[in-house]
Amino acid sequence: MKVSVKVNGTQYERDVEPRMLLSYFLREELGLTGTHVGCDSSSCGCCVVALDGDRAVKSCTMFAVMADGHEITTVEGLEQGAVLHPLQQGFWDQHGLQCGYCTPGMLMTSYALLKHNPDPSDTEIREAISGNLCRCTGYQNIVKAIRQEADVINAPQEKSA
């Protein structure tokens, strides 16, 4: 089946098996291996990407063909120019990752969260990332990392108030 999808700003056309999952499409057809696969039951969230700019989706729960006509942002699309996205900076600054396997999914879930809720409480952050499992960090520094970015977003608003 034909699929036409914009990923990280670039339009791609491919002919794929109908059963191909979006996660494998990104990894194998487009070589975007930052999107990881950690389970077979849509439990782990390692494969989360942003659909149409602000919806966090587990790319293992979508067929590639379902993304036809849509826009996908993956972890590779966060950095602009040579400048890290503030969330990436936050994860680095706050030691929000260890083995790095869950990190791309965590980043994309929090990216979508902050689009909807730029000033989440710690409880809201924890609820938002509860579909993303991490075995290394115990989440505490991930919450701090997302908080760091939220503080960046909210700083100018505080000034103007």
């Binding site: 194998e28 389970c39 782990c44 972890v75 680095w92 790095g100 115990g138 520094n141």
Partner: protein
Amino acid sequence: MTTTDKPRHAIGLSMKRKEDPRFIRGRGRYVDDIVLPNMLHLALVHSPYPHARIKNIDSTAALAVPGVKAVLTGKDLEAAGLAWIPTFHGYDKQMVLAVGKVLYQYQEVAGVVAETREAAHDGAELVEVDYEPLDPVVDPFEARKDTIILRDDRENKTNHIYHWEVGAREETDKALAASDVHIKERIYFQRCHPAPLEPCGGIADMNPATGRLTIYMTSQAPHAHRTVVSLVTGIPEDKIHIISPDIGGGFGNKVPVYPGYVVAAVASVVLKVPVKWIETRTENLTTTGFARDYHMDVEIGADKDGKVTALKVGTVADHGAFDAAADPTKYPAGLFGIVTGSYDFPHAFTELDAYFTNKAPGGVAYRCSFRVTEASYAIERGMDLLAGRLGMDAVELRRRNFVGKDQFPYRSQLGFVYDSGDYHATLDKALEAIGYDTLRKEQAECRARGELMGIGISTFTEVVGAGPSKHFDIMGIKMFDSAEIRIHPTGSGIVRAGTRHQGQGHETTWAQIVAEELGLDPQNLIVEEGDTDTAPYGLGTYASRSTPVAGGALALASRKIREKARKIAAHVLEVAEDDVEWENYAFTVKGVPGKTITMKEVAFAAYTNPVPGTEPGLEATFYYDPPNMTFPNGAYIAVVSVDPETGETKVKRFVAVDDCGVVINPMIVEGQIHGGLTEGYAIAFMQEIRYDEGGNHMNTNFTEYLVPTAVETPVWETGSTVTPSPHHPIGAKGVGESPNVGSPAAFVNAVMDALSPLGITHLDMPLTREKVWRAIRDAKAAKAATA
């Protein structure tokens, strides 16, 4: 030995991690990210039965799937002499693909190789295996009766694998009999699974042109795996190249060799193209190394003042279908002898019997040093049961029995020589942080209102850093580790070690150790691990051994470089070598203030102005054989509330004070503690690999085998005391596993403390809502019946 008293150049600093820039960009390189030209894919066929004879395997339908290239069975492997491979310590062997019969559900029976992953899995569904089901043996206590013998391939027709014991049985029995107070409890540490988020996998690439077999694999111990592959296959070791790329968590799961790697290698040799095998989550949970599964009878005696007199622990271990437990060769029950914990027992004895059952093989250490978690849980639970029996506060009982600060080095009755510690100080710090006295008052008020609140203590001691070569080996290979450091002319350098990190941060902390020793910039020291062609030989990363063993090698290799650098410094400064001193991270000349040369300048001289008649360059290799193990310890306190209506436990607070000796990077240490506590929480409340009576695996994916999410994971409060290890070159002890070793007992002790007004004294993990609710219901019914 160094301490943290003076300002440091690199050690002790919370440096941001050098490995992170690639991970936050999605540019890590995990094994499934690697694609080689003409690569084929392997999918495995698994047994639906836990115990069955294989009557026939028909591959016809599978071979008819477009893209399928080959189907491999146990018979094909037999022809290659690879149907069986030795287990971890070499005492047993395990099937790669089943021959004759299957011994556990999901056991690997055949492998399908195809052009795409999808075709391989389609083919695997169509391999028809004709089984004759046999009665399974699921319970080790049933296995012990030898009614059904599982392993007819073995000479000894028994399910009993081995007996192991240490300590003085008679003296311990006598002391227990003479004790004023005595507790005995069967404590089960359930079968659980490390479940790293990245499953296991590999790519085998036999290059017919060079005759070299390259294996990319999720390996915590690449050198050991190279040697094992060579010994098992007969391929010369120089023709084997193991590359362990970025690893998405290991926690012990990626120490053993699994059938998938072997089948992929055989397929690559036969088909002369690279073959990739990537596990599914179900395969990971059902076939690869589980952890624990120890049934422990714990007995402690004490006098009426609460001074312990003796400890005895008898264990029945369920090893599953093969004796594939990951323990050093001379330690079949791992380091279980640490079971005397932080306490000065005058008498102790422990014994263990291991049995085969129709369950997956394993016995890896899930974020722990060889059975230390089981032992720590046994003693810390046992001490709380004893406190309950004595009617004494759990803190006071521990204080009365701690090994004193002045007793180190302390030789335990079970043979370990503890290096250092200050258990009273560590506990005091934790008590102060949590506000213990206030909490006990609060608890009394809660109880008066009928609320179930509990406080749980765990003051554990680990034994890590395997290990000294006179005691520790795996299949004969001594458990040293190594470092190789090359300093470039401009003062940067490359550091390689025999370890392989999986998130521990070695790319940062190894650079910090070398930078501290040489006064160089850690940002300009690149760290490389995991490639057997380039790294010096080492036994890998598990059992908290990296810092205690490779960390020592790194410091001592650096010091070799510093000694050579001193000669170069003397040559450049035109003074006698004896007049050159290493001070404030540079070379100075005795009595001549201001006459200094930095290591960076020395490095340049090593290549541009070498000492005449000596070897140019500036590099060193060191193989470090540690003189002793290290003994990290800590005091953990959990505060919980239990809902009597639902059985749900909430962790209200958790304080962890760790003493892991000298800290290399406090940020990384804290991160390790957060992660380990979360895994301890998972084990205490959620995780168990269960089999039903028919031998069916009940926890085959992440909806049935739970990993805590951010919502239920508690907020961790951490603290530290520093008692340097006297024998380690930088005084460090290792920390990655302490929180997972120490915390389960703190959680369970807290819940039991909460439930104690109901007369409940012990429940086995995991403390699920259902289990706790049932216990409360039964306790209330029993009370009502006697009232």
